[in-house]
Subunit: 707 residues, 2 copies
């Protein structure tokens, strides 16, 4: 090396030169660029100082070994040695623990005397149950639990706890804002990126037990031999962590892959093709979970193309996977360009009559609301309306309509809101949660799906706080009755550490964040006001798209006299799709919750709100409140600058600044447009919009991500 430096020298070297003169010493070593990049999620290793727990495993399954490794890594200063064992281990049989009550995946963690030594026993009826118990013990310690008194039992209330990846085979992710697909399809099945293992660990820690690898707008190639092998490689990585692989199936695959003339579900050749394809998949993935299908929706093929019902389509696929124990998750997100009826009504109209017609291994997957993952929607009328059919709840973890990766919007309260909504299907307390977890109708096959916000970005979800939405979904899928605020606190303690000031600040910001987005994008049940295609930024004026229900004006129906979508008897009568007590409440604007007022009613701009202000005045108040809340989040975050590592703190601070600018943009663009419609002016002292309507209309975002 020195030789080389000499060789490349043009001026030769000389012996040490003498130097005199004073020297200014300057200190301050800049930190390295990467401090805490958020990769660890909620699995941040415990304080290295403390002693690792002594862990013993009864039995030799790989999953138990993984559970032991997690405990050795993250459980510290354990007052007792830890023992991991499945409940059917001979050593435990004699004890007659009431483990049947734990079900297939539940866990029990309690003090016990093992081989004469006081120990902490972690057990369950399956290896996965024990794994969940291990993660529960770690979570308990990290969130302040006393290991000496540890005594935990829990079983999941929902059977299928599934992430939906809208990932395409070319590496792009529809509505993904955290980089490329985590799945490197190109190097699979040969290379198994270590990230796949960390993905599995993070999910297992929450109890997530399934993942749909590919976009619901599915390529038929997903079902080709080459891609089945790739999916099988991922399944091999995920299996020890209790996670099953599912695939989105394109309904017309028998034509595109199989060379058939039709995909008619009643055609024997089509049925045989799916049967053979399923057998092929199960040869590669013996515990394959099954298919997720988006049919006859937004241009996707489906049974209606052959004048068959969704049930006939779903059951055909269900028959193909049934022999292997697979399921079909059939999405109810349908609306037809040909159907002139209120888009919010179409899924109900099409699926309600099919109740009872679906095979036993079919779940109907329903979005939380009847439109499409808006910042706030009333619960979907299908919940409670199909008692004979397992209703799988689909939530969106990625923030397609809530500011992409940059805006801080904790979705726990949104998830909680829909789960706690009372369908009144079987009297008071018939909550969506009880529909989803099967309690209401006694369904055993139950499920919850979350559209993932996971990508190849180093922090997985595009920002630290976005990780909380993945976390909240996973924990709520385990138990839909958990509280959003408690989960925020759980997450914050595992993510930022024990400092109560940081945790309290994070929780406070999270709990006010979602309502802020509702306020600055569209209060009182206004929805679908975003710009075209990329769904980024305001576009309430858009009125020139081919299909009526693609245009924001279709949803707000604002004119000189008023604003809002009349879904009562005088309008589309969508309210009639709800159980009578709910329908009655929603039929009258005075009994309709103000949060959903304009979703169900078209009201005059001077409608008197509960506050005594007119609707218009109150709208302005809300838009202003939304912007002010973001400013408040910024002030709170500034207050913990000295308590959070530099990298996560400053990225979050920068994103909050972006969010504040864009909240103001939403507020100004919306108000200036509403004023162009209602001819009203802003109340005294309210800030004038920064630009005129033409300026806001002129904004273009050809390279918005996730589109």
């Amino acid at each position: 090396m020195l030789g080389m430096e000499r060789r490349i020298s043009r001026i030769g070297a000389w012996s040490a030169c003498l130097l005199a003169g004073s020297v200014l010493a300057i200190g301050a070593l800049p930190g390295t660029a990467l401090a805490n990049d958020g990769y660890d999620l909620w699995l941040a290793p415990a304080d290295k100082g403390a002693a690792a727990a002594e862990v013993t495993v009864i039995g030799d399954s790989q999953t138990l070994q993984l559970a032991a490794a997690e405990l050795r890594r993250d459980l510290t200063a354990a007052p007792l040695p830890v023992v991991l064992a499945r409940a059917d281990a001979p050593e435990l049989a004699a004890l007659g623990l009431p483990t049947a009550m734990l079900g297939a995946e539940g866990y029990l963690v309690c003090a016990a005397t093992v081989a004469g030594r006081p120990s902490l026993l972690v057990t369950g009826n399956s290896d996965t149950g024990v794994l969940y118990g291990a993660f529960a013990a770690i979570r308990a310690q990290k969130t302040g639990g006393d290991l000496a008194k540890l005594d935990l039992t829990s079983t999941p209330k929902v059977r299928l706890r599934v992430l939906n990846h809208w990932d395409n085979l070319d590496g792009s992710v529809e509505r993904g804002y955290a980089g490329q697909s985590l799945w490197d399809w190109w190097t699979l099945p040969d290379f198994k990126d270590p990230r796949y293992t960390d993905y599995a660990r993070a999910n297992a820690a929450l109890g997530i037990n399934g993942t749909v690898l590919n976009n619901v707008n599915a390529s038929p190639d997903t079902l080709s031999a080459a891609y089945i092998a790739k999916a099988a490689a991922l399944a091999d990585v995920l299996r020890p962590w209790g996670i099953k692989v599912y695939l989105s199936a394109r309904f017309s695959a028998p034509i595109e892959l199989g060379g058939l003339k039709t995909a008619d579900p009643l055609d024997p050749q089509v049925q045989a093709w799916w049967k053979a394809k399923s057998d092929e998949i199960y040869r590669a993935i013996p515990d394959f979970g099954g298919f997720l299908v988006k049919a006859n929706s937004e241009g996707q093929p489906g049974p209606r193309d052959y004048h068959r019902t969704h049930a006939e389509g779903a059951n055909m696929l269900a028959a193909a996977v049934a022999p292997h124990g697979g399921v079909v998750m059939w999405r109810a997100f349908v609306y037809a360009e040909t159907d002139p009826d209120d888009r919010a009504k179409q899924a109900y109209s099409e699926f309600k009559p099919l109740d009872g017609k679906f095979a036993d291994n079919v779940l109907v997957q329903v979005k939380n609301g009847a439109i499409d993952f808006q910042p706030r929607e009333p619960f979907h009328p299908l919940f409670g309306a199909m008692p004979k059919t397992p209703m799988m709840l689909e939530l969106q973890i990625t923030k397609e309509y809530l500011g992409f990766a940059t805006h801080l919007a904790y979705l726990g309260p949104l998830f909680e809101e829909v789960l706690e909504a009372d369908t009144r299907a079987k009297g008071k307390g018939s909550t969506v949660a009880k529909v989803v977890d099967g309690a209401l109708e006694g369904h055993d096959l139950t499920g919850m799906a979350g559209v993932a916000n996971i990508g190849r970005d180093r922090d997985w979800s595009g920002s630290t706080f976005n990780q909380a939405n993945w976390y909240a979904f996973g924990r709520l899928a385990w138990d839909p009755t958990l509280s959003a605020e408690a989960l925020a606190r759980e997450w914050a303690r595992q993510t930022f550490g024990d400092d109560p000031r940081v945790v309290d600040t994070a929780v406070s910001m999270m709990m006010e964040s979602r309502e802020a987005v509702v306020d600055y994008t569209g209060p009182f049940g206004l929805a679908h006001l975003m710009d075209t295609g990329h769904h980024y930024g305001p576009g309430p004026w858009v009125n020139d798209l081919a299909r009526p229900e693609w245009n924001p004006i279709y949803y707000h129906k604002a004119d000189r006299s008023g604003i809002g979508f009349d879904r009562t008897r005088t309008g589309s009568n969508a309210v009639a799709q709800y159980a009578p007590p709910v329908a009655r409440m929603l039929a009258d604007p005075r009994t309709t919750p103000e949060t959903e007022l304009l979703w169900f009613h078209h009201l005059a701009w001077d409608w008197k709100m509960k506050s005594g202000r007119t609707l218009w005045q109150e709208m302005v108040v809300r838009y202003d409140r939304g912007v002010a809340t973001v400013a408040h989040m910024q002030r709170q975050w500034d207050g913990v600058k000295d308590k959070v590592d530099a990298e996560r703190w400053s990225k979050t601070a920068t994103y909050l600044a972006i969010q504040h600018n864009e909240a103001r943009w939403w507020r100004d663009a919306s108000l200036v447009y509403w004023m162009s419609v209602n001819g009203l002016s802003l109340p005294e002292g309210s800030l004038a919009p920064e630009h005129d309507l033409a300026w806001y209309k002129a904004q273009r975002f050809p390279y918005a991500p996730g589109h």
Copy 2:
């Protein structure tokens, strides 16, 4: 948390249960998933055990502080305190160091007595020079140099040492195989990812002083106000590291962005638009480097659309940036669908007559070969043919034609081969290196460009060994006379540490790797044999593409009688584009290097090679050798399994296995096709291809990356 666990319990808890029975203790804690993910590149921090160097800075520039921080982090056990100072520091003035010879960016590192204390002085005429000296000192130590005897002087031989990112504004990277674009255009200019800083550090350590941020197939939006602001934010991050930002400019931007009717370079309005646009850019980026332009090539707009020459187009842009000290890098990679002449001749034919017609601040950027970054090409005939014009060498670091990210192909020998090639333009020793570094014609404005292999993947380049190609380019741009093998050793020691067995193994693998790719993809100057569009895998049979020069058969011209492209007088006479001595050598197959035989000659299958074997027999030998060399690399890598961290070792091992399969695929597909043309059979004992020609033709890769 415990409270919550109780709340979600269905079976309640009970007091500690008693447990008897034996317990099998099982040890073996699995390692964490991520060991060494390759993020550190050649900047791996020095052994934490050793004491950090004491570093003092004279002067207070940010760059000097950054240099000091690098030394404090990575220079250990320094026998002397280190002093950083610019040569014009008053404290050094009296010493009369011959620093003028260091030029603007050179450095001097030598022992010196400072303020009475023996010290190690790092100096240069600019802050950047000092920074380069600091990195040189660190490199010297990491590669075995003795700090006590350290005495380094070096100045860059090439002025513009530039990476070309073929990155699109939507985050995709043309011919990129390491994930999305490193530039997160969406969150710029607000969020400055810490990775941008580490990117700058890695480049500064090599002496790279410029980066073209966007694809040569440029979007006009790159020059919009919004994207200029984003580029300016990146420039602010890169500036302290001595790196200038450049942009690829779309020639028709005055029409698309400016609303003009024409982009004619002689139109005053067009000239005024570029002048105003340049002024706008320089207001945001005072040290903006200038424009890179791909014009009238592969569908890109350019001056020929208006019947103007490339010189007229380039000079118009050059006039716009000249007042600000900017340059224009004008690519010579042109071939016209309308030109029936040998594609290999077209760039020369079009540019040679323009020598002397370009403005002083224009460089003509020429690919190493006349076609397009093939595993081996003869040097481009333009080198040495335009004495009045600065010839900037364009190399491709990303492996578009050499196995994407997965194949191990160290490009040092390819780069070295072209740099050492003798153009004979001014007699013996008129190497391409001397053309490029300006020595041959006394040009002061000189440059070398490398098409980057950098993406957002954690290891930056898609594999550990791919990092070596970035490294080799950067070091060769500093000094084109460096040896590829020495650079391989330098890189390996900084990447894998001091263990000589690991370093020797890595170097040995690297030095045989590129020739292996030549052997298994196409020996003896065969080129452009890959499949369509994605450029992945063999497609020598392809003959149905719209333009003749898009088809592999255009390049190999194989028929029953022979194979190869006759570029002598009896053919396209491309040899005449070289200086007479070279042209004479290439005119005769017996004097043409066998490595380039079929590039210049169409020869009978039974042509006698120097080995005594026929051409056909020798081709088979080479295909076999290529596959065997990959197997040899695998064996060597297996030999250091215990000496390399698990993560980098196993990813590399997996990629080598992929490469071995694909080398076999290339070999088999090529041979089976050649046999279908020449009707010959394989020599005794040579392995029969795995499949028939139809099978190889049927392979499809719709989701290949980088396409």
